[in-house]
């Protein structure tokens, strides 16, 4: 039994417990040693700030003065906050579209790049380049150059007599350009997929080839199951990461989340509240709402994984 299986089996009947308890004791000491750095880090660095932010979400903390406990005031405020509502929708749309899209592209290209081909390392490096640029100011300039009212995309459309709008400046399309930006930076999941593909024993493909399996069939019955733990990893972390997307929207809208809040991600909104309006208490409450949502999404992911993720052990 490994970590993930155990996590999945959170609601396993009590009967199985005794067996595990016995073997538990066997590794406890070793586990304590291996986990020592993590334990220290968790209790000394990670847990404290998390608990503090949980407490602050029930206060009026403004960064400059001592926080006062205000009970459920922040939660009541969240219920009436229409900007928060729209930022939740924007974030959800972004996550639901951009995560799967990015993973599909990353996987397709990783498979394309896998297995001996000329210029592999060149392609891989070039394809990773956009991800190296990250959230730099240059990206903001570039994105306007491509998706602006007089950008390259509209110059291209003009060839067909189409007069395009400013894709960044229109409320209906601004989020779309951010999704494209996310997909465009597929480097990280691609590298992880590639590393995962490396781990699939070559013999499996060789055996399948001799059996006359087509490439597609090999992909379906060897690559997909063998890679499923990595797909699962990329999916879980992709969702956690996308829910917290910040830099791209910040850089491109200059922190405003505009036009008309159409790119106001929830982290951008809570950042505005925390540092712009000095309402860290309220921002912390929003952050914990986000944690609940991301936690629920992750739990669903783990629950669903038992139907499609294949573990060898």
């Amino acid at each position: 039994m490994s970590a993930l299986n155990e996590l999945r089996a959170l609601k396993v009947p009590k009967g199985t417990k005794r067996i595990r308890d016995k073997s538990d004791t066997r590794d406890n000491k070793a586990a304590a040693v291996f986990l020592l750095p993590w334990l220290i880090g968790f209790f000394a660095i990670t847990l404290g700030p998390m608990v503090a932010s949980l407490y602050l979400s029930f206060t009026d903390y403004n960064l400059l003065q001592n926080p006062n406990f205000t009970g459920l005031t922040n939660i009541e405020r969240m219920l009436q906050d229409s900007d928060l509502g729209s930022s939740l929708i924007v974030t959800l749309v972004y996550v639901v579209i951009s995560v799967p899209l990015q993973l599909i592209v990353a996987l397709a290209i990783a498979v394309l790049l896998d297995r001996g081909m000329r210029g592999l390392s060149f392609y891989r490096s070039v394809l990773y380049l956009p991800s190296l640029l990250g959230g730099s100011v240059a990206i903001a300039v570039l994105w306007r150059l491509v998706f602006g009212g007089e950008g390259l995309l509209n110059a291209f459309l003009a060839l067909f007599g189409i007069h395009g709008p400013s894709w960044i400046g229109s409320p209906n399309t601004a989020l779309g350009t951010l999704i494209i930006l996310h997909v465009w930076t597929f480097g990280a999941p691609m590298v992880i997929f590639l590393a995962g593909l490396r781990q699939i024993p070559r013999e499996l493909y060789e055996a399948a080839s001799t059996d006359g399996a087509t490439r597609w069939r090999q992909f379906r019955s060897i690559t997909v199951p063998m890679l499923s733990p990595i797909v699962f990893f990329n999916l879980v972390l992709g969702i956690i990461g996308a829910f917290q997307s910040f830099t791209q929207a910040y850089v491109i809208s200059n922190g405003s989340g505009g036009p008309t809040n159409s790119t106001l991600f929830i982290t951008l909104y809570l950042y505005q509240k925390a540092f712009g309006s000095l309402q860290m208490g309220y921002a912390s409450a929003i952050a914990w709402l986000l944690l609940l949502i991301v936690g629920a999404a992750t739990a669903i992911n783990f629950w669903a994984s038992k139907y499609w993720v294949f573990y060898d052990d």
Partner: protein, 444 residues
């Protein structure tokens, strides 16, 4: 089961201990004892920190000014810290919260009241022995006050006007009326003429709509204003609706960029703006013309007064402080910090070094010092500020506690109007309500 609950008890205990520790830490930033009023200069070596925002172009002059100060005060070492504007406030709020506030801080009027009311800034009257503000006019000095105390010393001044690209006007042979007291109709007519004469290649105007300085001027012309001296929102919805309607009509007339183009342009730095690129002939500007001129070296730019109405109340013009120096209430060396601020705002060598880079100097002596060397856009701006000074009334109050979002909210509701999500009237009511809510939330 038993083990589980034991764990939980331990866990809870640990969590309580940690959070207690942290929250005592969070308290470091706020409240607390105020600085020693009888602060004295130290004769031992002292290190103070100076935090400012700005781009690379501000590095050299600030460095040099501080070197001069250190020469004059050999026992004081000044540690410089700087970031860009966007990062500045995040970092400042964090360091104040962590009890690590810099001694001297560059400040914007948006945040003076919020920081002062919450005890983060020192009352500079306590250090008048070391810090002389007498060279400032009363009107200017007052813009650094909150609740009767002086918390911030103005560095530079600005005032919203209309920047115009004369090269474009000349090219399409568009004549300006006498702009000394030109009206909104005049502005509209010029904008239309440019658009028509250039066949839409150059648009007349980048409209206002999302910045409180221009809104405040518009309101003052109509006997109204955004915030009163008590820090309340007193803006009338009808005034705001009229302000938006004016700009909205221009957008509909096609003499300005479209709503989506404006949204795209809202996030660009000044030197990528439509005026600098020669795409529009005029724009509203808080008199920082030089940034545009540098970006558009081939264009002849000029600064025109803010248009008005025929029956506008006298004294609607005012000078806004572009930035301030403040001292942390937690400073361990407030006397030396006060001396540094004094040096930076009164020493004529500093005046020369800074020039007009932090805005037209607030100190009239500095203005005199730099005038002979001024040329081009810097001179245009200085003349403009002098002209406004002659006409200016009492300055508009600084942004009250909790009002830091006044501009970003205005921009947001203005976009709703532009994209037809609300009429000017509806949006005006919504904006005023939202802003009032922010102020109330800050009061707690």
């Amino acid at each position: 089961m038993k083990r589980h609950s034991r764990m939980r008890r331990h866990g809870v205990a640990a969590v309580v201990a940690v959070s207690a520790l942290l929250l005592s830490g969070c308290a470091v930033g706020g409240g607390g004892a105020s600085a020693d009023k009888g602060a004295k200069l130290s004769d031992k070596p002292v290190t103070i920190s100076l935090y400012w925002w700005g781009s690379a172009s501000r590095v050299t002059s600030t460095d040099a000014a501080v070197k001069l100060f250190e020469k004059a005060h050999p026992n004081v070492t000044v540690k410089l810290q700087s970031t860009d504007w966007g990062s500045y406030w995040d970092k400042l709020a964090t360091s104040v919260a962590g009890g690590q506030a810099p001694d001297v801080m560059q400040f914007d009027q948006l945040y003076v009241a919020s920081y002062a009311q919450r005890g983060a800034l020192a009352d500079l009257n306590d250090y008048s022995k070391y810090l002389d503000t007498s060279s400032l006019t009363k009107n200017v000095r007052d813009t650094g006050e909150y609740d009767g105390n002086l918390y911030a010393v103005p560095i530079g001044l600005n005032s919203v006007g209309v920047a115009v690209n004369r090269s474009v006007l000349d090219k399409y042979d568009v004549k300006l009326p006498d702009t000394k007291s030109w009206t909104w109709d005049d502005l509209d007519r010029v904008a239309k003429e440019v658009t028509k004469a250039s066949d839409g290649k150059v648009l007349g105007l980048d409209p206002f709509g999302g910045d409180t300085p221009s809104l405040t001027l518009w309101a003052r012309q109509r006997g109204n204003t955004l915030f009163n001296q008590k820090g309340e929102v007193v803006l009338k919805p009808s005034v705001l609706a009229g302000y938006w309607q004016y700009a909205l009509d221009q957008i509909k007339d096609g003499v300005t960029p479209s709503a989506s183009q404006l949204a795209e342009g809202a996030s660009v730095p000044l030197d990528q703006s439509d005026l600098a690129k020669g795409k529009v002939a005029m724009t509203f500007l808080p008199s920082n013309l030089t940034a545009f001129q540098v970006a558009a070296p081939t264009q002849k730019l000029d600064m025109l007064p803010f248009p008005t109405t025929d029956n506008a109340k006298k004294g609607w013009q005012y000078l806004k402080s572009s930035m301030y120096w403040t001292i942390s209430s937690k400073s361990k060396h407030p006397a030396e910090a006060a001396e540094l601020v004094d040096f930076l705002t009164t020493n004529s060598k500093v005046g020369k070094l800074f020039g007009a880079e932090r805005g037209t100097p607030a100190n009239p002596d500095f203005q005199k010092v730099i005038t002979p060397d001024l040329a081009g856009s810097d001179k245009i701006v200085m003349d403009y500020i002098k002209q406004v000074t002659a006409e200016a009334g009492t300055p508009a109050p600084i942004t009250p506690v909790g009002g830091q979002d006044a501009d970003s909210l205005l921009a947001q509701y203005w976009q709703n109007v532009q994209f037809g999500k609300a009429t000017p009237k509806e949006a005006a009511v919504q904006y005023i309500a939202a802003l009032k809510k922010e102020l109330a939330a800050a009061k707690g």
